[in-house]
Structure formats: C-alpha cells, structure tokens
C-alpha cells in the first residue's frame, strides 16, 4: 500500500524561478501534492526572525538553520500545519508569519511555531539554490 511508481515519479524535484517574487511577497507552489510557501522576506522580517531568543520557541531552531547561507531573505517551508495538516495563511497572525485557521496555530516569519496546538515548526523541504534566482525543491 506504499505509493506506486507513478506517484513517486510525479514527486521528482521541481525548479522554481524566484525572479518574479518581489520583496515582501510570497508564492505557493505544489510539490508532491503539498503546498510549498516561498517567501521573499523583508530585511525587517529577517532581522526579527534572527533575533528571536531560542527560549521563546517551543521547537527551538535558529533562523539560520532554516535558511540557506547567503540567501537569508528566502524562506522555503512546507505550508502544512504540523498539527493536523491544514494550510496556514501567510502574513497572518500575531507574528506576521503564518496562521492556521483550523485550530489556531501561529507561526513566525521563519515558519516557527509560536502559539497553538501544533507541536513543531513548519518543515523546510529539501531544496538547493541552482543560481541566485533559481531553486530546486526536492
């Protein structure tokens, strides 16, 4: 009952061009049937995320651990709430990050859980920068 060959093949890595995403904007792409949020964060958002003390986090992770060095303005996370799988809304909630409308989990601009029933941060999918403006997810 594990995924069949065609399902696995359809889950191959995808390339995403980042040039159209202006600062402060984000896009949602689908990979393996999951929505992936790619946010072009503002300097202020990056600073906020980096300065957050780890003791304030239920699932401690630094912003550096969740982004690629040299590309700190880009946040790539799986847009699936770690509680029960709803899709959080971007730019909502008291941390201006993500807010899940189902059971009220609040994530910050780094996709880290801050409030609500979700146990862990929004996962970062495997991805790599092919060039400065192109990433490959998967």
């Amino acid at each position: 009952m594990n995924p069949d060959a065609s399902t696995i093949a359809a889950g191959a890595p995808i390339e995403v061009d980042l040039t159209p995403i202006a600062e402060g904007q984000d896009i949602k792409v689908f990979w393996r049937g999951k929505p992936i949020y790619i946010s072009h964060r503002t300097k202020k958002q990056v600073e906020e995320a980096q300065k957050t003390p780890l003791k304030d986090l239920p699932d401690p992770q630094t912003d550096q651990q969740r982004t690629k060095p040299g590309h700190e303005q880009w946040l790539v996370v799986v847009g699936i709430c770690t509680h029960l799988g709803c899709i959080p809304i971007a730019h909502e909630g008291s941390y201006n990050g993500f807010f899940c409308p189902c059971h009220g989990s609040v994530y910050d601009t780094s996709g880290r859980i801050r409030q609500g029933p979700a146990p862990t941060n929004l996962p970062v999918p495997p991805y790599a920068f092919l060039t400065d403006t192109k990433i490959q997810i998967g």
Partner: protein
C-alpha cells in the same frame, strides 16, 4: 442458539435438508422460540433498528457504487450525476447519507441503554466488547464514506483525521503514507478509502453475527437486571418481540424519512458541495456530528500526541467498562446515585458534541477541558467508586414480579427519547461555517420552502433569463444540461423549447476526422458551456478570485443559525439558508464602505458577504434585464428570481422528493398505527 431446537419441519423436502443442515432449526430457536424477557421496554428495539439500518446502508451502498467513480477528478461530479440522472438516485443518496447519521443515532441510544441497564456486566462482557468493536468499525466506515463525495469537507476531514496517526512516535509518518498512498491526500487515498468503505460493512455484518450469537448464549438483559428464572419470566421471541421490533422500526423510519425527504442536507455541511481543493482550507473543519464529542476531546488537549491518545482512549475505555463498574446490581433503575450520574454523563456527551462544532478558542476551550475531565472521571473514578459506596434499592425477585409492580412510564421515556434525539441530531447544525463579520441575511418567503413547497415556473424562467444575460458571462452552470430545462419539476419548457434554447449556444466538439476541434450548435444533451476554459483562466480574468460554478451554489453557501435556532429548524424544516444568503449577497452591495473599514483594492463592500470585501462587482442594476411577463424589473426581483432558479439547479428533483415524502409518510403512519394495535393484541395476555 438457546440449546438444541425441537423444531421439526413437516414437509419431507425440508426435513431432508434439515437433517443435513439444521438451518431452519437454528432460525427457529434464535428468532421464533427464543425466550425473551417479558419486561423489555422500547429501548430494546434498537437492536432490530440497527440491523435494519445496516441492511439499508449495504443495499443502498451497493447500488450507489454501481454509479460512483472513485477518482479524484470525477468523484464529485459522479455523485452529482447520481443525484441528477440516475433513476431515484437522489433517493438512494439521501437514504445512504442520512442513513449514516441515523445509524449512529440508533447506535448511541443502543449504547446508552446498555450503560444505563448495566448490560455489559457478567456474563455479557464479550457481548459488550463485540459491540465496542462494531462501533469502532462503524466510525472507520462512516469516516471513509464521508470522504467519497470528494467535497471540501471530505478532503479536509480526510487530511485532519489521517494526520492524527502522524502523532504516533516513530511509525506515525509511515502509517500516514500507507493511508495516503502518496505524499498527501489524493487520488490513491480516495481509491483505497472506497475499497475499504465497501469492505468494512461486511466485516461489521460478520461481527454483528458474533454479537447476536453472544447475545443468544447469555440471553438478553432487561430493565430490571434480574435473570429470567421461570417460564413465567419470558415470552417467545415470535410473535412478541418480533411485532414490538416491527413497531419500533416503523417509528424510527418516520424519523428517518423526515430527514430523507424534507431535510436531506440538514445533517451535512454546506462546504461539502464545493469540490475538493487542496490549496484552500475551509475556515472551520468539522467532522460529521457523530464524531463531534471525540473531536472536542482531541482539541481540548494542547499536546498533539496526548490529544490523539485521549480521543482514542475515550472510545477504548468503553471496552473496560465491565471491570470498571463492579456493582452487583445491574440496572440503574435500582441504583439511585448511578442513575443521576448517568444522566449527567449523557449531558456531558451532548455538550462535548456541541463544543466539537465550535471554534477552538476562549471559553469553548476551557469548557472542553472541564467536560473532557468529567467524561473520563465518569468511567475511571465515579463508576469504580459508586460500586463500592452505593447502597442499591432491593431488586425484584423475578421479572414476573417486576412486571406486576410496573407503573406506566411510557410518557417519560418518550419525552426523554425526544430530547435526547433532538439534542444529538441538533448538534450537527452548529457545525455550519461561521463567519466572524457577516450579518445574518433576511429570511425570504420562498415557494419551494416547507413540506409541500414547489418551484414557481415563472420565477424559474425569469431566473434563467437573468442567469443567461448577466451571470453567465463569468459563472458556469456545468451540471445543468439543456434537456433539464424540459424536465418535470423544472422551469416547465417543452422538449422543443429546450432544444431551441440549446441551439442558440455554440458547443465545442471534436476531434473530427481531420483531428480538429470544431464548434456546432448545442443539442439538448449538452451542458451549459462554462465561460472560462479552466480555473486559472477564470482567476486571471477576475482579479485573482475565480467565479464559482453556480449549479450548486444555493447548497454550497450557508450561514450559522446558532443555538437554539438549529434545534427549531429540525421541526420547522427550515432549509433555506443557502437561497436567503445568495439573494442577500446579490442585494447587499453598498456604494461606500462604512467608516473605519478599509476595503482592499479591487474589492467591493457587501453587507452579507463574510468579511464584507467581495471581488465580484455589483452584478445587477434596475432595468438591466427585460421581463416579458410584466414582473418588476428591479434588483430585488432579479435577485429573488435568479436565486429561485439556482435553487432548482442545485436540487432539480426537489418536487419529486417532497411529493414522494408525503406518500411515504401517509404509508408509514398507517403502518405504525396498525403495528401498534397488533402489538397491543399480541401482548394483551403478557402484561
């Protein structure tokens, strides 16, 4: 199953079979000669009611499966086509969907009865545990069945429930992948759920056989909780229990038919008339009403794993009941304290169900936690404690003694049944999508409301005109074929008129022999063409908000009725939230947003739209459409007419449904009456 049968067929052929396979003797001893306690009340008819519901679900389900397509792209449409095109498909679907709710209603009453009369106590522990297994299987079956229509609630319900298993340490994620058959809920998930939804009812039927077997070994419990001692304590199953069960079943069918024919969507979710969309989560995901108490327990615990464990523990704890409650007196009738706490427990369960449908914030969370503690305290603290400290009243020496001392309690039982049923069923309505800013739309007078409501042909024809001249430029109507315009119960056009209407449209067809697509005039069998080739095109052309297809819009939109209105709605058959909302939105445009409200760019202010900022510009203005029949050419009239029309597109067989409902009700009431008097006659000498 009550020992060797003395049944001997007289016919030689039957005798021949009976000597080789004593099946008639088995049937005779199980369902004819089987001694049943003579003091059983109507709560004991729910066993028969449940057997009937299982049969109804299997029969309707098998026929539905003949027409259903288990594919993520086609499932939603195939369900709509069942309702619209299959002979009596609307009836089959309503029976099956409402049937699930009725099945659970009956099983809850059956379980509470067992709880109250101590039917789980020695020697019926295995019987009880088999019942808990049936209940778990029912929950799994019901959940997977709800996924099959592949609407928004189906999809997101499946996502939330399958994600529960990801809380299990180490193996959770692998289990979820096995359930999904992919990386997320998708087509493989739908396929395996369909397969299992078809399989599990037969597993249930198998366990039911074991359940009945165990019942016939230990014998039925009874309201006084004393075992039958002499022949005076029992009556033969047939005709006594049979006729009583038939009467109980006929009364239950009346309730069932009320929902099938008059309120088929009351127990469902408006959101499930929106096709599944993996990119949009509905604002409130709520399961079907029968899972709400457990959903409330899940949400009241702030830790994910603990929440999941608590939810399953709330069900599994039932299996341990025989060893948690060790009191020697079975029936709560003779346990003054247990009786009171039982009713408190019932209230706790109903309240948990109500909370399960509320948004998880503020006071609801706190109340949920208190009630969760009370739920578990009842089983883990109270029942073991009561068994030790309570002094029960003396139980009668025998069932016969109890029957002779019995006073009329039918009225109180009937009242309790009504209240419990009303509250349990009513819990569903709270599950409706709630909007935090919306204003309740004003109620309109619709000719299609009520038990004998019909469509107004004039309004349908005018509404079609408004749709064609205004709405159709952005909104599709993809489930309606031109032939439907000539269907009975529709706008009342002739077949020739429908064909002429169709020929005005250009329909894309092909490929032809040269392999090219071409356009041709529409035929009656064609469907209304959609204005945009796909959702992305519709989105791009309309500033990011795709205009929804209107075929089902009056059933896919709703607003929260709130307590206590949703309870009254069961009795008044109020079903018109959708049309009221649609008509209100069409008329709810304000030229200027009120002070303090910032309207996003490209949006318009609408009083009744949730959040008020609607992307659709004001669609209707006075005098825009010319009516031939002299009806006023006003926005109010247009809105009502087009809503009327869209109610028909959402529910094209509504008139047939209500008409058949009336006939079924007359039949059922007569049947129930006749069965009641037959039952009286049969039982005359036994009371």
């Amino acid at each position: 199953m009550s020992g060797p049968s003395d049944f001997q067929p007289t016919n030689p052929a039957l005798k021949w079979i009976e000597r080789r396979l004593p099946i008639m003797g088995l049937m005779h001893s199980s369902f004819v000669a089987y001694p049943t306690p003579r003091n059983l009340n109507y709560w004991w008819t729910f066993g028969a009611i449940l057997s009937m519901m299982l049969a109804v679900q299997i029969v309707t389900g098998v026929i539905l499966a003949m027409h259903y397509t288990p594919h993520a792209d086609l499932a939603f449409k195939s369900v709509e086509l069942i309702v619209r095109d299959v002979n009596f498909g609307w009836l089959l679907r309503n029976m099956h969907a409402v049937g699930a709710s009725m099945f659970f209603l009956a099983v809850y009453i059956h379980m509470f009865r067992g709880l109250y009369y101590g039917s789980y106590k020695e020697p019926r522990e295995v019987l009880w545990i088999l019942g808990v297994i049936i209940y778990l299987l029912m929950m799994a079956t019901g959940f997977m069945g709800y996924v099959l229509p592949w609407g928004q609630m189906s999809f997101w319900g499946a996502t939330v429930i399958t994600n529960l298993f990801s809380a299990i340490p180490y193996v959770g994620d692998s289990i979820v992948t096995l359930l999904w058959g992919g990386y997320a809920v998708g087509n493989p998930t739908l396929n395996r759920f369909f397969s299992l939804h078809y399989l599990l009812p037969f597993v249930i039927a198998g366990v039911v056989v074991l359940h009945v077997w165990a019942l016939h070994v230990s014998g039925q419990n009874n309201p006084d909780g004393v075992e039958p001692k002499t022949a005076k304590d029992t009556v033969p199953f047939t005709p006594h229990a049979t006729i009583k069960d038939f009467f109980g079943v006929s009364c239950f069918l009346l309730l069932y038919a009320w929902f099938i024919f008059y309120m088929p969507n009351y127990l469902g979710e408006a959101d499930n008339y929106i096709p599944a969309n993996p990119a949009v989560t509905p604002p409130h995901i709520v399961p079907e009403w029968y899972y709400l108490p457990f959903y409330a327990i899940l949400r009241s615990i702030p830790n994910k794993l603990a929440g999941v464990v608590a939810m399953f523990a709330a069900i599994v704890v039932l299996a341990f009941l025989p060893w948690l409650d060790t009191a020697r007196t079975r029936s709560s009738k003779y346990r003054p304290l247990a009786k009171q706490f039982f009713w408190i427990f019932v209230v706790v369960c109903v309240l948990l169900g109500y909370l399960g449908a509320q948004p998880p914030e503020g006071i609801y969370v706190i109340a949920g936690r208190i009630l969760t503690v009370m739920y578990f305290a009842y089983f883990l603290i109270l029942l073991p404690l009561l068994s030790r400290i309570e002094t029960p009243r003396p139980v009668p020496n025998s069932i016969a003694d109890a029957v002779l001392a019995k006073s009329g309690k039918a009225a109180s039982i009937a009242a309790a049944f009504l209240i419990a049923g009303g509250l349990l069923v009513g819990g569903a309505q709270t599950a409706r999508a709630e909007d935090s800013h919306g204003v309740s739309p004003p109620a309109n007078k619709w000719s299609f409301a009520g038990p004998v409501g019909t469509f107004d042909r004039g309004a349908l024809q005018r509404g079609l005109k408004v749709y064609k001249e205004v709405c159709a430029s952005c909104h599709g109507l993809s489930y309606i074929a031109f032939r439907n315009l000539a269907d009975p119960g529709g706008p009342g056009y002739s077949v020739a008129q429908a064909a002429a209407f169709a020929s005005e449209y250009k329909i894309k067809d092909g490929p032809n022999d040269a392999g090219d697509m071409f356009e041709r005039p529409g035929r009656p069998a064609d469907y209304f063409p959609s204005p945009f080739p796909n959702e992305q095109a519709a989105r791009t052309a309309n500033g990011g908000a795709a205009p929804p297809d209107l075929s089902l819009i009056t059933k896919a939109r709703s607003y929260k009725r709130g307590f206590p209105m949703f309870v009254f709605d069961v009795f008044t058959q109020y079903q018109e939230q959708g049309p009221d909302y649609v008509a209100a939105v069409l008329q709810g445009y304000q030229d200027k947003a009120p002070a303090g409200f910032t309207l996003p760019e490209g949006s318009y202010y609408n009083t009744y739209f949730p959040g008020h900022a609607i992307k659709m510009p004001k669609p209707l203005s006075d005098g825009q459409v010319t009516y031939d029949d002299g009806s006023p050419a006003t926005v109010a009239q247009y809105s009502k007419d087009v809503t009327h029309f869209l109610m028909w597109t959402a529910e094209p067989h509504m008139e047939a449904r209500k008409k058949l409902g009336l006939q079924v009700f007359v039949f059922l009431i007569l049947l129930a009456g006749l069965l009641y008097f037959t039952k009286k006659k049969v039982w005359a000498s036994s009371h």
